[in-house]
Each structure stands twice: as C-alpha cells, then as structure tokens.
Amino acid sequence: MSDDTKPPADDPKATAPEAVVGSEDLHATDLDLTEANAAGDTAPVRIGERRGMFGPTRGSDTTGYGGLRTPILFPGASEKPYGSYFDELTTTLEQALGTTGDTAYGSAVERVVVDRGELTLHIRREALPAVARALRDDPALRFEICTGVSGVHFPGEAGRELHAVYHLLSITHNRRLRLEVSAPDDDARIPSVVETWPAADWHERETWDMFGIVFEGHPSLTRILMPDDWPGHPQRKDYPLGGIPVEYKGGTVPPPDERRSYN
C-alpha cells in the first residue's frame, strides 16, 4: 500500500482497509467496526460480536484467547448491476411501487443484497404489505407462493434484533426472492402477509411462537408448536436450550449449552 492513499491516523492498523472489512480478521477492534459501519451501505453489516475463541472468556481463561473480539459481519448492500434476473426484478418492482408515497421503492426497500447467487430485499416493515401485494400481483413479478417465514434473532444488532425472513417462489417465471424485515426487540411488530399469501398463516404463527414477533393483522396469532401456556419464545438467543447433566461411568457430561464451545 502506498503512503499517499493512506489516511492519516493514530493507529495505522485500525485504518488499513483490510482490517476494516475482512470477517476473517480475528484482531479487529471496536475502532474498525465504527469505520466499517460508516463506510456506507455497501460495507458489511455488523450484527454482533464474538468474544473469545473457545473455553471461558473471563476468570479462569488461561489461553489468552478470551479477550479476542471478532465482529460478526453480514454481506452489505450490493451495487447495480446485480446480475442474473435481479436487475430486471428490482426495476419491475420499482415501477410497480412507484416513486412517491410511503411505499415508494426508495423508502420501502432499505437494502438490496445479492450474496451467493441469492437476492435479498430488506423491506421497511411498514411497507411490507404493499410490497408483498405488488410482488404477487404484478404480471412481471408474479411471486405466487410464499414458501415460508423464518425468524432470526440477532441480539447484537441494536434496533433490528428480530428478523422475519420470507422466501418467495414464482413458478410463472421460475424465480426466487428473499424478503427480510426487521423489528426492534421492544416493539416486535411486523405486518402480516396472510392477506396476500394465505400459506403464510402457520409459518407466521410458528415465528410468533418461536421468536415472539407479533404479526399484526394475522387472523389468529396463537402458538402452534408449543403449548398455549408456554412462557417465553424458545428460538430466541436469550432462551436457554435447557437439559440436564448426563452421568456415564462416573463422569458427568454437562448439557449441550454448558459445554465448551468454539465460538
């Protein structure tokens, strides 16, 4: 790296570009992360931080790895052209949603991520029903089937802890698309898409059951897998796995969530 392109800084390591984005960089610090998030939309999205490598992270840590802090970086927004059918799809959606109003493409779609050959549209939650209807009804889009709703809990992503992920399938055009909608933990509400895709009924109930995301407008949002009076939402990261120690030949094996982990 030549010196003239390098911005002046106190800590050269923190400003070196490879230290900013590489998720394989195990020695990144907080300083790197601030820069990574400030670098714009295309920078990887930080969804959390991993501490240590394995074994205890404090107290009896003898490895020296306990203090290691690694950012968890997800692929950031992609730049046009996206490739494949993705450009045509996003352009059509842009036309279908229009350019003005609350549900205009620019305000409805927060981020377009093309990663590993899959297209993900991050949708602002208020705009989800309109986007869903456009995706289903526009002849050039025609996503007839919502194959499922999956939840993901990112406790480290402040203000966007709970994600609902919709996988759409268009049999007409033989295309796939992923919608991702996020909600903060203390206001876990996302509009329901059951009106557009009745198939999402049980999937949304499952996501409510497992993550506690309230799908507003769902005809009967009740628990589906857990008993009706179950406390908590089991798939959230703060919900323990549970389990009891198992004895075998005089030794005790702790439950899986208390064993040494390599994360």
Binding site: P75, T147, G148, V165, I171, D201, E247, T252
Partner: protein, 472 residues
Amino acid sequence: MTTHDDTIYEEIPADEQSPGLDPALGDGQGDPYATTDADREDGARVFNASGGDWGDLVDEATALHEERIVVNMGPQHPSTHGVLRLILELDGETVTEARAGIGYLHTGIEKNMEFRSWVQGVTFCTRMDYLTPMFQEATYCLGIERLLGIEDQIPERASIIRVLMMELTRINSHLVCLGTGGMELGATTVMTVGFRERERILRIFEAVTGLRMNNAYIRPGGVAQDLPHGCLDQINDTVPQLRAGLRELELLLNENPILKGRTKEVGYLDLAGCMALGITGPILRSAGLPHDLRKSQPYCGYETYDFEVITRTGADAYDRIRIRLDEMYESLKIVEQCVERLKKVHGPVMVEDKKIAWPAQLSVGSDGQGNSLDHIREIMGTSMESLIHHFKLVTEGFRVPAGQAYVPIESPKGELGCHVVSDGGTRPYRAHFRDPSFNNLQAVAALSEGGQVADVIVAVASIDPVMGGVDR
C-alpha cells in the same frame, strides 16, 4: 462430579402437584386427563370415549338430540397419520369445520442444532421427517455448501450417490404413504405389500449407511463414505423386485372399486387453492401443474437425468395415489441411471478441502460398520499431525462464512428447504426447515370441510403428513 446418591427427588406438596395427579379432578372415573363439563363455559355436554361400549356412548349422545357435535380426533388415533389432532365440527355426518392441531411431536431440533457443530447438525435434521431422512440432509448440506462457496467442488461421484439415495428414499416415502394410507382405509394388504417393498430399500440403506433410518449419510462436502463393495449389484437385483412389487400395488389399487369409491373426488383442491395455500409436491401435480424442482431449479445434477414429471388433472385423493405410484417408476428409472454412472465414475466422495472434509473413515468389518482400523492406526500410531487435525475438525468443526442461504429441493411431499444462517462460527446460527408437510397440512380445512367424517381420513392421508417433520 455427582453420583446417583446425590440425586434427590423432592416431595411435591399436594397443592403444587400437576392437576393430572389429583384424582378429584378429571371425570372422576380414573381418567385424570379427560375433559369435564367444568372445562366448558357454555355448559355443553362432554363425552370422553375411553374404552367401554361404543353403543352406550352413542345412545347417550343421541339422547341429547343435538345435531352439532365437536369431535376431537387425535392426537392419539390410529388413522390420523401420527400425533395429528383434528378438531372436527360435525353436523350429523357432515364436517362443517375442520382444524388441525399440531405440536405434539415438537422436539426442538432447530434449537438443538444451534448448539452443535455444522456436521453434527446432519444427525439432527435427518430425524425431522423420519421417512425422508436423505432429503433433510441434502437440503441442509446444499445450504452449507453454498455458504462455504464449494458448490462446484462437490465430486461427481458424491452427487450421483446423493441422487441415488434421494430417489430410493422417495420410493420409500411413497410406499409408506400408500401403505399407511391404505391401512387407514382398512386395506391391510396395501400396507403389507408397501412395507414389504420398503424393506428391500431399507436393506440397501443399511448396506450403504449402516442404518435403516436416520442415516446421517449426506454430509457437508459430499457423503459419509463410498458405496460398499457389491452394493451396485444389490441395487441392480432389487430394482426388478421393486418393479414387480409396484406392479402388484398397482393391480391392487388402480381399478379397485372400493378404493375408487373412497378416494375419487374426495379431498379436492384445485390449482388456485394449491397456489393460495402454497401447496407443492404430489398435491400440486394432481391439480395439473408440472412443477417439480428437480426440473425447474435442478440441484445435484438432476438436469442430466432422464425422467418425467407426472401430472394428473383430477385434483383428488385418487389422483394423488396414482401420481405417487407413477413417480416411483420414474424414481426407479433415475436409480438405474445412477447405477450405470456409478459403474463409470470413480473417485472421491468428499471435497478435496481437508479443512472441511470429515477426517474419520469407516470400514466394514465382521461385526458390521465401524471405525477404519487403517485410519486409527495412522492417527494413533503414525502421524501426530493427523491426530491433531482429526481432533480439531471433529470436536471444533469448521467455520462457515457469515451469511444466509436457502437451497430448496423436491422432497416426496413437496418443496423442502433449509434456511441456514451462519455468523461465521462453527455452529449454525439458525437452521430453519421449511417442511412441506407443515405447509400442506394447512389444507386440511379446504380438503375436508363439507365432506363426510370418513373422507377426512382419506384427505389427510392424501397429504401424507409426517408429524416428525411438521413439528420438528
């Protein structure tokens, strides 16, 4: 360290005991879990059918002169295809409302997978839909491979073996569907023929993977191990036997007047209904749409195999039976093509990358499948580095770059997909399975409302739900 002596079972005070333990509750006739009139706010009479003379119960119920009856069928009922609970509102013999209650077999597999390494996840997801273990393994591993970016490094032989095993599993699953479906109609011969033929396939699975079910055979990067010696001959011998068995099933079912009377125009769901409810698989194809992911979005090299997508237009339970029968013949065609290819294609069955490929090897000894002595000799006696490598990969596992992937495949029941999310660690951050049975069970109301009670059984059997997959 704890010993057995340390285990203390506390005496539970009477007022904290589970209500089920209190004989004063319940119906007072020795069934603490029975529903009572006190559970009902509107004061409707509740009947619990648990043994005794059925005629007495019917007499008692008819004496009320109440036409509208809510019947709770399941979760323990021999004809509900596992622990499915059906809540039926009846007007005489007609079903006016049907609801499915699920969750009785929820085992938290997805949560458990988040606490195991990526490779260990295979042994968990194989247990979801226990009739299609290979398919869960395949979609999970294809997802991981996409995250790892090694999709094009999977050896050809591994892909062929995957296709071979998946197609055998498809026949296996369809045979159980027809067999248990037949049994639910009271036709036990269909069941005995179906399970007899399935046994032939399970014998192949046992020879290849060491297990009849829950195989954990398809692994990230390939398959657990190559086919054993003589396996291709075994498959070659089995295929004609299966053909003969399928022919027997066809002769038994296709023109059987009782079966046709029970299944024709029963459980009707047209294309618009399928689309709205997100139905895939044989139910969708019985409505006439030739949608099959093996053709439309091929994976594992399915585009290079010669087979037909079977469709019919009756959109009823009968056509779904016929589609499953015909699909098994198509699967046999693919199996034969796989055998031909496997005779020519040799080489590894796992990716080259030693940071991903499972280091342990298995071999067949006199007492069955077990550790490869050669491998153990190497890591324990010859190479310290091999031991370290083995230890690291088996205990810690490999890291998968952060991101998410969804690679759906065509399972016997429809679209099966795994939404895998990685945070760059050695464990799945989230693995959500889109199980076709879970989605398709939503159609119970559409399939059975307005029909007879007996048709509910047929309609549910034509969905072919497996509760292990539905509840996960």
